[in-house]
């Protein structure tokens, strides 16, 4: 009923290939963007920004990067957190070497460093596939964390061995450091995530997206339709690591404010793999749904007893939390193994033909 597509005819290829060939999708997106840009900032507290909104956005972005590589190009990777670290450390070094540089430029430049490192560690993908490649990327994970610890130049020879973000501003507006307002940081992150997401939706439905998906589905056939496998795989590693690097820099500069090398260790890599798988591999929207489930839901659940007036010890709540989120993950994967994005796609299809079953 809400998703009736009748009467929406396509007379040109432009309109047929438009981002939202169905008007209702467009409407839905406008509503979501309005909530993100206007409604949330009206009500959100500092806690909401710091514990819910900003983390969800940053994890979504990191997962989007991983999804380009694993979901679209079919190359398994367990080194996501390491590449995030490269982005963060690169941004840190750029802003210390060029203190006058605009943080936005520094951020987008630091992505190139993680892209280069990603391509270097992506080289094994030309010879090995699947789980073996995952293990090769795991090596990059260990190596990079080790490097962040041992190479003192990276953290400016700090006694603590951690990187700390100093106060920076854009045209007088403080965006990083302890004095920055969470709302400003939220808008900053939201803006960058929106831009990158828009760009990636376009890339994945264009030539690159098809090339990557062809390599994922059958690499020999891809080669025989004229796709250069080396270029396709390495471009996927580059684009993926670029986005992941930006996500890492955002995480340190606009959320945590400081980072130690072990932040970029394996647990975070796994967390991002989970987000991508539960959200749906080979989908852009899935990353956001997955991040909401894995990052935001535990926080919301933790707040529940207080809201309901129950007194449960925080340790108990922690256990309950793990149990609830864990069983939800299992349930969603049983209901739809292809992830939340596919789940939504099925619901949408049903809505379009509703009230008829076929």
């Amino acid at each position: 009923m809400f998703y009736r597509t009748s009467g929406q005819f396509k007379t040109t290829y432009e309109s047929d290939q438009a981002l939202f060939p169905i008007k209702q999708d467009m409407f839905l997106l406008v509503v979501i963007l309005a909530i993100m840009y206007a409604i949330f900032p009206m009500f959100a507290s500092e806690f909401t920004y710091k514990a819910l909104l900003v983390p969800v956005l940053i994890y979504s972005l990191a997962s989007l990067g991983l999804n380009i590589l694993t979901g679209y190009a079919g190359q398994l990777s367990l080194g996501t957190a390491g590449f995030m670290g490269v982005g963060a450390y690169a941004c840190y070094k750029i802003t210390t070497i060029f203190p006058e540089m605009n943080i936005i430029i520094a951020l987008f430049l630091s992505g190139f460093f993680s892209a280069a490192v990603g391509v270097a560690f992506g080289l094994p993908s030309l010879r090995i596939k699947g789980f073996y490649l995952a293990i090769a990327t795991l090596a990059s994970q260990f190596f990079l964390v080790w490097l962040f610890e041992k190479w003192a130049w990276l953290y400016n020879y700090n006694a603590s061995g951690a990187i700390e973000v100093r106060t920076m501003d854009i045209f007088g507006l403080v965006v990083t450091g302890p004095t920055a307002s969470p709302m400003v940081q939220y808008y900053f992150v939201l803006g960058i995530v929106s831009v990158v997401t828009f760009a990636m939706i376009n890339v994945t439905r264009g030539r690159y997206g098809r090339t990557w998906k062809a390599v994922r589905d059958m690499d020999i056939a891809a080669e025989l339709v004229g796709i250069n496998l080396m270029r396709a795989k390495l471009s996927a590693f580059a684009v993926s690591s670029y986005i992941v690097g930006i996500a890492g820099a955002l995480m340190v500069f606009f959320w945590k404010g400081a980072a130690e090398p072990n932040l970029f260790d394996i647990p975070m890599s796994f967390q991002i793999v989970f987000i991508a798988i539960i959200g749906g591999l080979g989908s852009v929207m899935g990353n956001f749904l997955g991040a909401i489930l894995i990052v935001a839901l535990p926080v919301v659940l933790g707040l529940l007893p207080e809201l309901l007036g129950l007194t449960i010890g925080s340790a108990t709540m922690e256990h309950v939390n793990v149990m609830v989120v864990g069983s939800l993950i299992i349930m969603f994967l049983i209901v739809e193994p292809h992830g939340l994005a596919r789940f939504w796609a099925l619901i949408r299809e049903k809505l379009i033909i509703w009230p008829f079953p076929h």
Binding site: Y13, E14, Q17, L19, A199, M200, N202, V203, R205, G206, R207, Y208, R210, T211, K213, A214, R216, D217, M218, I220, A221, A222, E223, L224, V225, G226, I227, N228, S235, V239, G282
Partner: protein, 272 residues
């Protein structure tokens, strides 16, 4: 007016008149001690349908793999379009105008029919990452220009109704047709078909035969075809080359090949 079958001499004369598109001279291919192809020479002429037949394991598919650069022959000279070929990679062969389909369907299963065929034009699309990210201006124009070509092929092969269907869910006969569409999207000069009719029922075979003839006739594509259905081979092809144990045992118009004693022996076996 009755249509007369051309006489044997006429068929031969017609084949003689055509220009050579691909020429193989003394090509040999081996994997370690296994000799897949031994000293084979034949040519494919412009605009003809050339069948490659032979019993299982005769080296037919290896022959196609040599032609499109997937295997490197150890010996022999290959000339395509008057140019001698040195080393070859499949994606280079595509840019020279050689496309192929596979014995087992090799489609990109997670993608729609439209995307599969569009992927066949991947090498022809040039817009860089920057324009791709915007999907606007040159990138969109390029996309639409190729979409038009792809839609022509979709019309040609009558697969409009499955445009948006993921190919993994299609029946086998249609998958084969989508694969042919993807090969045609590369706008090849030479189209290599590896058993296009394997596993099809009679009706699907008739459809496929008609499409092959149409492609040859209307698009002017030269076709090299491997097929086991002798009825189809003899009806469709202009000339036939017969392989057995990696050697060429016969080469000529269908009538000649059919009556060749060596071919009959290869297929029916010899009493010892």
């Amino acid at each position: 007016m009755t249509v007369m079958d051309p006489t044997l001499e006429e068929v031969k004369r017609r084949a003689e008149e055509r220009e050579v598109l691909l020429d193989l001279e003394n090509v040999s291919l081996s994997f370690g001690g296994v000799k897949a192809i031994t000293n084979i020479s034949f040519n494919i002429k412009k605009g003809e349908i050339r069948a490659i037949i032979g019993p299982n394991g005769a080296g037919k598919t290896s022959m196609l793999n040599v032609i499109n650069g997937f295997y490197q022959p150890q010996e022999g000279v290959i000339t395509f379009n008057g140019e001698k070929r040195s080393s070859m990679k499949p994606h280079l062969a595509v840019s020279q105008g050689i496309a192929r389909t596979f014995q087992n369907v090799a489609l990109f299963k997670g993608m729609s029919t439209l995307d599969n065929i569009m992927a066949g034009r991947a090498t022809r699309m040039k817009r860089n990452m920057f324009w791709q990210m915007l999907y606007w201006g040159p990138a969109q124009r390029e996309e639409i220009e190729h979409r038009k070509k792809v839609e022509e092929i979709i019309d040609f092969l009558e697969i409009q109704h499955i445009r948006r269907t993921p190919v993994g869910t299609l029946p086998y006969g249609l998958q084969k047709r989508v694969e042919l569409a993807r090969a045609l999207a590369m706008e090849p000069e030479l189209l290599l078909l590896d058993e296009p009719m394997a596993g099809m029922n009679l009706e699907e075979k008739e459809d496929m035969s008609r499409f092959i003839l149409d492609v040859n006739d209307q698009l002017g594509t030269t076709i090299a075809l491997i097929e086991h259905d002798m009825g189809v081979v003899m009806d469709l092809s202009d000339r036939v080359v017969v392989l057995d144990y990696g050697r060429k045992i016969a080469d000529g118009v269908p009538e000649e090949v059919q009556s060749n004693q060596e071919v009959i022996d290869a297929y029916l076996g010899l009493s010892h």
